[in-house]
């Protein structure tokens, strides 16, 4: 999600450029006034959803990693290390 280009500053500025009302005659003026207001709500809701997802993602992911170099005979103990990692929100990387 964080890599979604639509949320990059560059994409955001492009989106604004598209939404900007074009110079036009009077019959199109009403449309061009209401459009930015609708887009504002949509953007607010989407931004809120995005922030919520990021917060949820951060909460559910381990806060930190612990890298353990283990001998080749330790592979049967890796589940025990991982289990401790899950309990403590630590991503245990065994190499």
């Amino acid at each position: 999600m964080l890599e979604d280009e639509s949320w990059s500053p560059r994409a955001q500025s492009n989106r604004s450029a598209v939404a900007r009302p074009k110079p036009s005659d009077g019959s199109r003026a009403a449309e061009s006034v209401s459009e930015p207001r609708t887009n504002g709500w949509v953007f607010s809701l989407m931004a809120l959803a995005f922030v919520s997802l990021v917060v949820l993602g951060l909460c559910s992911r381990p806060a930190t990693t612990l890298r353990v170099v283990a001998g080749s005979g330790f592979s049967s103990f890796e589940p025990i290390l991982k289990r401790w990692g899950e309990k403590n929100a630590v991503d245990v990387q065994v190499t």
Binding site: L66, R67, V69, A70, G71, G73, F77, N88
Partner: protein
């Protein structure tokens, strides 16, 4: 040990077989808060009927007894490499102590004693197969149970293997604790301090967890000895009929000083171990051009440049044979195999071989089966003799030419060399399935060189 020694370690913790290796490597004092998590002595596990036949049940068995039985061809024995594996090193130091007459501490004089060297060389000569991994060796023994009779390995590995043997209705191994004693692995978990210290509380939490009662019980159920004195065991796996004896006072030698340990390991590699016959099959197809070729050259340098090889304990021995086959969809150097062969460990000859490897240009498509088949023919032609054979086959691509695995099967049948293992190393776009099928056919293994080609070559070479 090496990563600690040169400070290149980028991990937060180390969990290894024996605190010896940490203490040898920790020149920069990076290791803190080391605690033993469990223990397991190195033992000699032998098929029970054979132990009975040899009169070893319930008796003191000395190293000389094992040597005599192996030399009489009554035992086909497995042991990991002393220079690449903790269990192998523990057994090897046990041999040295036993044949030096059990001194309080082993010295350089003992190592230089020809009588000690001769017996150590003899017992190592009786080995049928070696490996860099004690876990893999246990599994290999289980998979090829009819091919072997005994192994030096961790007591816990013998017990775990016995559980599987019992489940399949096969004869168990009987545990022999050699009277002179072998090493006792203490499996320490240590923190690697790199200045910031922010991971220290996490590490302590993990260490406490592993030492907590429920987790210690789990280790005991896997045949490890636990508790502060390493005297607590799980009776369900520690079965007396398998020779397991928790009350047995573990005779363990005292590791000598660092210079003597290093001298002993260098002697193992250059003078005592059973020599090797290695054919390296190296991929020079077009896709290896550039970085692939550079990494290949670097990997081969760590094995053949005797100065670099000594850092990793891969020095050659006087009776080793080393051949390099350069391949794409053909054997590029087929007509000059003599120039690509080194008999012995002359550093200048090995350097000349390296120069050839470095100057070999890359070429066409890939056929990985042909070089393995040609390697067998060369082994047959030159004679393996009393050496550990291995074919190390490195490729970065999928075999897209030639007659496939059939030509390797045919070569095995024609040469009669059906017990030569092929160790595959993957690199770049290599197809692990193709290498796995070769490893399966030949009782070899496949190592992933896509992230660390040099490391993969070192692991592969650790098997002979």
């Amino acid at each position: 040990m090496l990563m600690l020694e040169d400070g290149s370690i980028d991990s937060d913790a180390i969990w290894e077989g024996d605190s010896l290796w940490t203490s040898l490597g920790d020149k920069q004092q990076l290791v803190k808060n080391s605690k033993s998590i469990m223990c397991s002595p190195i033992v000699f596990g032998v098929k029970k009927s054979l132990a009975q036949e040899l009169g070893w049940i319930g008796k003191d068995v000395r190293m000389q007894d094992i040597l005599s039985a192996a030399e009489d061809k009554r035992l086909r024995v497995l042991m990991t490499s002393a220079s690449q594996s903790n269990s192998g090193a523990s057994a090897y130091f046990g041999f040295l102590y036993a044949f030096a007459g059990n001194p309080d501490v082993l010295s350089s004089e003992h190592l230089e004693d020809p009588a000690v060297g001769e017996k150590v060389r003899r017992i190592l000569d009786t080995l049928d197969r070696t490996s860099e991994s004690s876990g893999w060796m246990r599994d290999h023994f289980l998979a090829r149970y009819e091919n072997y009779d005994a192994m030096f390995n961790y007591e816990s590995h013998v017990l775990e293997m016995n559980q599987k043997l019992a489940a399949s209705g096969r004869e168990p191994l009987y545990i022999v604790y050699p009277a002179e004693g072998l090493g006792v692995a203490d499996f320490p978990l240590s923190f690697v301090s790199k200045g910031s210290g922010d991971k220290a509380p996490l590490f302590r939490s993990l260490q406490d967890y592993l030492l907590s009662e429920p987790v210690q019980r789990e280790f005991a159920a896997k045949g490890r000895r636990v508790g502060p004195l390493c005297d607590q065991v799980d009776p369900a796996i520690f079965r007396p009929e398998w020779g397991a004896d928790a009350a047995h006072t573990l005779n363990s030698f005292k590791y000598p000083s660092e210079p003597v340990i290093r001298q002993a390991l260098a002697l193992y590699q250059t003078a005592f171990r059973k020599p090797s016959f290695t054919v390296y099959c190296l991929d020079y197809s077009a896709s290896m051009k550039g970085k692939g070729r550079e990494q290949l050259t670097q990997a081969m340098r760590t094995l053949l440049d005797q100065q670099q090889a000594s850092k990793y304990l891969f020095q050659g021995a006087p009776n080793d044979v080393t051949i390099v086959l350069a391949f794409d969809d053909q054997i590029i150097n087929a007509n000059e195999s003599g120039a690509w062969t080194v008999r012995g460990n002359n550093p200048e000859e090995l350097e000349r071989l390296l120069a050839r490897i470095e100057s070999q240009p890359t070429r066409n498509r890939t056929d990985i089966y042909r070089p393995a088949a040609v390697a067998l023919s060369l082994m047959k032609e030159q004679g393996i003799g009393d050496r550990f054979p291995a074919i190390i086959l490195m490729t970065d691509g999928q075999s897209n030419s030639g007659a496939g695995i059939g030509q390797l099967e045919q070569a095995r049948a024609v040469t009669g060399l059906d017990s030569v293992p092929v160790f595959g190393i993957t690199f770049g776009e290599a197809d692990p399935a193709q290498l796995n099928s070769i490893a399966e056919l030949t009782d070899g293994r496949v190592f992933d060189g896509t992230k660390d080609l040099v490391g993969a070559f070192r692991k592969a070479k650790g098997n002979n």
